[in-house]
C-alpha cells in the first residue's frame, strides 16, 4: 500500500518574525542607523549600545526606588520630615554638569571629523569638568555639615546624602571611563575582538549624558520636594 507523503514544508508552524530564512535575525536597538553585517562568533558592535541602554534601565530602577521611597517616607513621616533647602552651590554644580555634556558633544563631533588630538583635548576637559562637579558636591556637603545637618539628622537630609552619593559614584565611574578611553585613544587603539574605538566613545558618551540628565532630574526633585 503506498501512502502519499505530504510535502514537509507545509507543516512548518507560522512564525510571525519567521520570514527571514537564512537571513539575519530582527534587531531592535542600538543600530546607530547603519545595518551591520552578521558576523558569526562575534559580539556585534551595536550590542555595546544595547548593553548600555539596558544598564541605564537597571540604574534608573535603582534611583526610582529611592525616589519613591523618599516620597512615601515623606508621606508617612508627617511632622518628623523637615524639608531640606538644597545648598545653593548645587546651581553651580548643575551648570558644570550641563557644561560637561556640551563639551562631550563637541569632542564627539571632532572625533567624527577625524581630528583625534582635538577630540582627546575636549574629551579630557569633559572628564575634568566631571571632577569639578564632584568637588562642588563635596563643598555642598561641607555646607550642610556647617549647618549641623549630618547623615542621620533628619530623613530629608539622609535621603539627600544618599541621592548625591549614589549619583556621585555613578559620575565617578563615568570619569574613570572617560580617562581610560582618552588614554587608550592617545596610545593608539589596540586591535582587539572587543569594542571598537568609535563605539567606546559613543557608549561612554551615552552614559555621561545619562548621568547629567539624572542629576538634573534629581536636582529638580530636591527643589520641588526638599
Amino acid at each position: 500500500m503506498s501512502v502519499a507523503i505530504p510535502p514537509v514544508e507545509t507543516r512548518k508552524p507560522a512564525a510571525p518574525f519567521g520570514a527571514n530564512y537564512g537571513g539575519p535575525p530582527i534587531r531592535f536597538l542600538g543600530n546607530d542607523g547603519e545595518p551591520e553585517p552578521w558576523q558569526p562568533g562575534r559580539t556585534p558592535q551595536r550590542t555595546y549600545t544595547l548593553g548600555m541602554i539596558v544598564g541605564i534601565g537597571a540604574s534608573s530602577m535603582f534611583f526610582l526606588a529611592l525616589v519613591s521611597a523618599s516620597v512615601v517616607h515623606r508621606g508617612l513621616a508627617g511632622n518628623a520630615w523637615i524639608p531640606l533647602r538644597p545648598p545653593s552651590l548645587l546651581w553651580a554644580t548643575s551648570a558644570l554638569a550641563l557644561a560637561s555634556s556640551s563639551t562631550l558633544v563637541h569632542a564627539r563631533r571632532k572625533f567624527k571629523s577625524g581630528d583625534i588630538d582635538t577630540f582627546i583635548r575636549w574629551w579630557t576637559i569633559t572628564a575634568v569638568l566631571g571632577i569639578c562637579f564632584l568637588g562642588g558636591q563635596l563643598l555642598a556637603w561641607r555646607q550642610l555639615v556647617a549647618q549641623g545637618l549630618y547623615l542621620a539628622s533628619n530623613p530629608s537630609v539622609s535621603f539627600f546624602y544618599v541621592f548625591t552619593v549614589a549619583h556621585g559614584l555613578h559620575l565617578l565611574g563615568g570619569v574613570i571611563a572617560l580617562f581610560w578611553i582618552s588614554w587608550r585613544q592617545s596610545h593608539g587603539w589596540r586591535k582587539s575582538p572587543g569594542i571598537s574605538r568609535s563605539k567606546a566613545t559613543s557608549v561612554a558618551a551615552l552614559y555621561w549624558h545619562f548621568v547629567t540628565v539624572l542629576w538634573l532630574l534629581l536636582f529638580s526633585f530636591f527643589l520641588i520636594g526638599g
Binding site: P7, K12, G41, V54, A58, S59, V162
Partner: protein, 586 residues
C-alpha cells in the same frame, strides 16, 4: 544529518588552568561554576532544614553544628533565616537562571558565547563574594541573623540590641544581598543583550526554545527588581551603621532602652522588599517553566501545545508579577481598597498560570510519553506547581490570609509552588542536560529512585503542613512541646519530620549518581534524546566556541517532533527544508 553553516575561526580556547577553569570567560564554565555554587548552597540549606525538623521533634536533643549542642529559639530562627536566604538567592535564583541559562542560552540561540563574556565572569565572582559573605554570618560573633529572609524592620534595623545575630550577622547578610543584587543585575543585562542581539540567522524570537523565553523574561524581571532591593538594602545598612531613620520609627523601646530613631517607617521596607520579592518568586519559577515545557515536548515526541500562548503567558506572568507585591503585606495593615486591588491582581495571575498548565497537559494528551528521568521531573514540576498554586488562590483573599498568614499553610504554599517546583525544574534540567554538559549519561535507575523518593517525599512533607496551618500551627515557633494547643499536632509534625529525613537522605542518591556518572556513566552521543534544538547539534560537551566554527542557520521552530512524512520523528532546527524533503523521500 549535517546542515549548511558558516565556518569561522573565533577565539582560541585558553590553556592555563586558572584562565580555563577559574577566571574563565567561557559561558559554559561559568554556568557550571554557578551550578556548583548552587549545589553547595542547597546542601547547606538542606542540612539546616533537617536540623530544624529534628529540633521541632526533640527540642532537647544535642545537635551537631550548634553552639552548646542544644538549640535555642534564637538559633532556630537563625536557621530559618539562613535556610530561606540560601535557598531563595543562592539556589533558586542561581541554578536555573545563572547556571543552566548561562550554559545553554548561547548554544540554543546559536551564539559562540554571551554578549559580554568578561562581564559574565564578573557576575559570577561578585555572586561568589556574596555567597562567602552570607555563610560568614554563621561564624561572626553571635552567629547568623534571626530576622528571616525578608529581614523585616525594625528587628533587622536596630543592631545588636534587638537580639542575637542582629549585630554582625545581620550586617553580613545585608552586604551579601547587596553583592548578590549587583551580580544579578550584571547577569540580567548580559542575558537581555545576548538574546536580543546574538541570535543566529533565522532564529526569530518566536523560534526560540521556551527555555530561552523563560530566561529572557526572568532576566527582565531581575533587571527591574534587583535594583530595588539594592536601594532598600543600602538604606537598611545606613539605618544600622550610621543611625539614619529610614525604616525605624520614633519611640521604639528595646530591652528598656529608648532608641534614638525618629520618623522612619517599617512599612517602607516591606514595600521595597516585596516590590523586589514578588518578582523574585517568578525569577525562581519561570526558568523552571521553560525547562518543563522543553522537556515535556521532547519526551512526548510532540510539538509543545500552544507555543505562542506559552510565550504570552510567561510574559503576562512577568508583567503581573510586578503588581501584586501587596499580597505579602495583607497582615501589615493596608487600606482595604488596596488590599482588594492586590487580591484581584493576584488571582489574575491564575489565568496565565492556568493557560500554561492547560498547554502542558495538552502536550501530554495522546502522546507516546517516554518516561525517562528528566520527563518524570518535568511532570513532577507540573504537579507541584498546580498543587502549590491552588492554595495561592485562597491566600490571595485578604480575609483568609489574615487567618493563615503566620501559619504553616503559607509555608506549605510557597514551598510547593516556588521551592520544590523550581527544584524539580532544576532536577529536570540536570538529568536532561547532564549528557551535554559532561559527555556522559546519568544512571536511569538511580534517577528514577531519586525521583520517586523526592516526589512522594515532597508531598508527604508539605501536604500535611496545610492541615497544621489550618489548625493554627504557627510558623517560626521553635518549640511545639511548650504550648498546650500545639501538642495535639505532634503526630503530624512527626510525620512531616520523618518524611523530611527520608527525602533529604534520598538526595544522596542524586549526589552519588551525579559524581559517579561524571567518571563512569556511559558515553553520550551528540543527541541522546533525539531532540531538535541547537544544543544537540554540538559535541558533548561542546567545543570552546560551541559549534566548532560551524555556525548554524535556523529554518524552523524549536519543537518539530513527529512531523508527518519526515524520515525521523524529530527535525533539528538547523536542517534545511530541502534536506528534510530529500531525507523523507529516500
Amino acid at each position: 544529518m549535517s546542515a549548511h553553516g558558516h565556518t569561522i575561526h573565533v577565539s582560541e580556547a585558553p590553556t592555563g588552568f586558572v584562565r580555563k577553569y577559574i577566571f574563565s570567560t567561557d559561558h559554559k564554565v561559568i554556568g557550571i561554576q554557578y551550578f556548583l555554587l548552587a549545589l553547595t548552597a542547597v546542601m547547606v540549606g538542606l542540612v539546616l532544614s533537617v536540623l530544624m525538623r529534628i529540633h521541632l521533634l526533640w527540642p532537647d536533643a544535642k545537635l551537631p553544628f550548634i553552639a552548646n549542642g542544644i538549640m535555642t529559639p534564637a538559633q532556630y530562627l537563625a536557621l530559618v533565616t539562613m535556610h530561606g536566604t540560601l535557598m531563595v538567592f543562592m539556589v533558586l535564583t542561581t541554578a536555573p537562571q545563572s547556571g543552566f541559562g548561562n550554559y545553554f542560552l548561547p548554544i540554543q540561540i546559536g551564539a559562540p558565547d554571551m554578549a559580554f563574556p568578561h562581564l559574565n565572569m564578573l557576575s559570577f565572582w561578585v555572586t561568589f563574594v556574596s555567597f562567602l559573605c552570607l555563610v560568614s554570618a554563621f561564624v561572626v560573633p553571635d552567629g547568623a541573623p534571626i530576622s528571616g529572609w525578608t529581614a523585616y524592620t525594625p528587628l533587622s534595623g536596630l543592631g545588636q540590641i534587638s537580639g542575637p545575630g542582629e549585630g554582625w550577622g545581620q550586617t553580613m547578610w545585608i552586604v551579601s544581598i547587596a553583592f548578590f543584587c549587583l551580580g544579578s543585575l550584571l547577569g540580567a543585562l548580559n542575558f537581555i543583550a545576548t538574546i536580543i542581539d546574538m541570535r543566529a540567522p533565522g532564529m526569530s524570537l518566536f523560534r526560540m526554545p521556551l527555555t530561552c523565553w523563560g530566561w529572557f523574561v526572568t532576566a527582565i524581571l531581575g533587571l527591574l527588581a534587583f535594583g530595588i532591593l539594592l536601594a532598600g538594602g543600602i538604606l537598611l545598612l545606613l539605618d544600622r551603621t550610621v543611625g539614619t531613620s529610614f525604616f525605624l520609627p520614633a519611640g521604639l523601646v528595646v530591652t528598656d532602652q529608648l532608641q534614638p530613631h525618629s520618623g522612619g517607617s517599617p512599612l517602607l521596607w516591606q514595600h521595597l522588599f516585596w516590590f523586589f520579592g514578588h518578582p523574585e518568586v517568578y525569577i525562581a519559577i519561570l526558568p523552571g517553566m521553560g525547562v518543563a515545557s522543553h522537556v515535556l515536548s521532547t519526551f512526548c515526541r510532540k510539538p509543545i501545545f500552544g507555543y505562542k500562548a506559552m510565550v504570552i503567558a510567561m510574559n503576562a506572568i512577568g508583567l503581573l508579577g510586578f503588581m501584586v507585591w501587596g499580597h505579602h503585606m495583607f497582615v501589615s495593615g493596608m487600606n482595604p481598597y488596596s488590599g482588594f486591588a492586590f487580591s484581584i491582581m493576584t488571582m489574575a495571575i491564575g489565568v496565565p498560570s492556568a493557560i500554561k498548565t492547560f498547554n502542558w497537559l495538552s502536550t501530554l494528551w495522546g502522546s507516546k510519553i517516554h518516561f525517562d528521568t528528566p520527563m518524570l521531573f518535568a511532570i513532577g514540576f507540573v504537579s507541584l506547581f498546580v498543587s502549590g498554586g491552588l492554595s495561592g488562590i485562597f491566600l490571595a483573599q485578604p480575609a483568609v490570609d489574615n487567618l493563615l498568614h503566620a501559619t504553616y499553610y503559607v509555608v506549605a504554599h510557597f514551598h510547593l509552588v516556588m521551592g520544590v517546583a523550581a527544584i524539580f525544574g532544576i532536577f529536570a534540567a540536570t538529568y536532561f542536560w547532564f549528557p551535554k554538559m559532561f559527555g556522559r549519561m546519568l544512571n536511569e535507575k538511580l534517577g528514577k529512585i531519586h525521583f520517586w523518593f523526592t516526589f512522594v517525599g515532597a508531598y508527604c512533607i508539605f501536604m500535611p503542613m496545610h492541615f497544621l496551618g489550618l489548625a493554627g500551627g504557627i510558623r517560626r515557633y521553635a518549640d511545639y512541646t511548650a504550648i498546650s494547643y500545639l501538642q495535639s499536632m505532634r503526630p503530624l509534625t512527626m510525620f512531616v519530620s520523618f518524611a523530611a529525613f527520608v527525602t533529604a537522605t534520598a538526595q544522596l542518591v542524586f549526589l552519588y549518581n551525579f559524581f559517579w556518572s561524571l567518571k563512569n556513566g556511559p558515553k553520550a552521543g551528540k543527541n541522546p534524546w533525539n531532540a531538535t534544538t541547537l544544543e544537540w547539534i554540538t559535541e558533548s560537551p561542546p567545543a570552546h566556541d560551541n559549534f566548532g566554527g560551524q555556525y548554524p542557520s535556523v529554518y524552523r521552530g524549536p519543537y518539530e517532533y513527529s512531523v508527518p512524512g519526515a524520515a525521523e520523528d524529530y527535525i533539528p532546527q538547523n536542517l534545511e527544508p530541502s534536506q528534510v524533503a530529500r531525507e523523507a523521500r529516500s
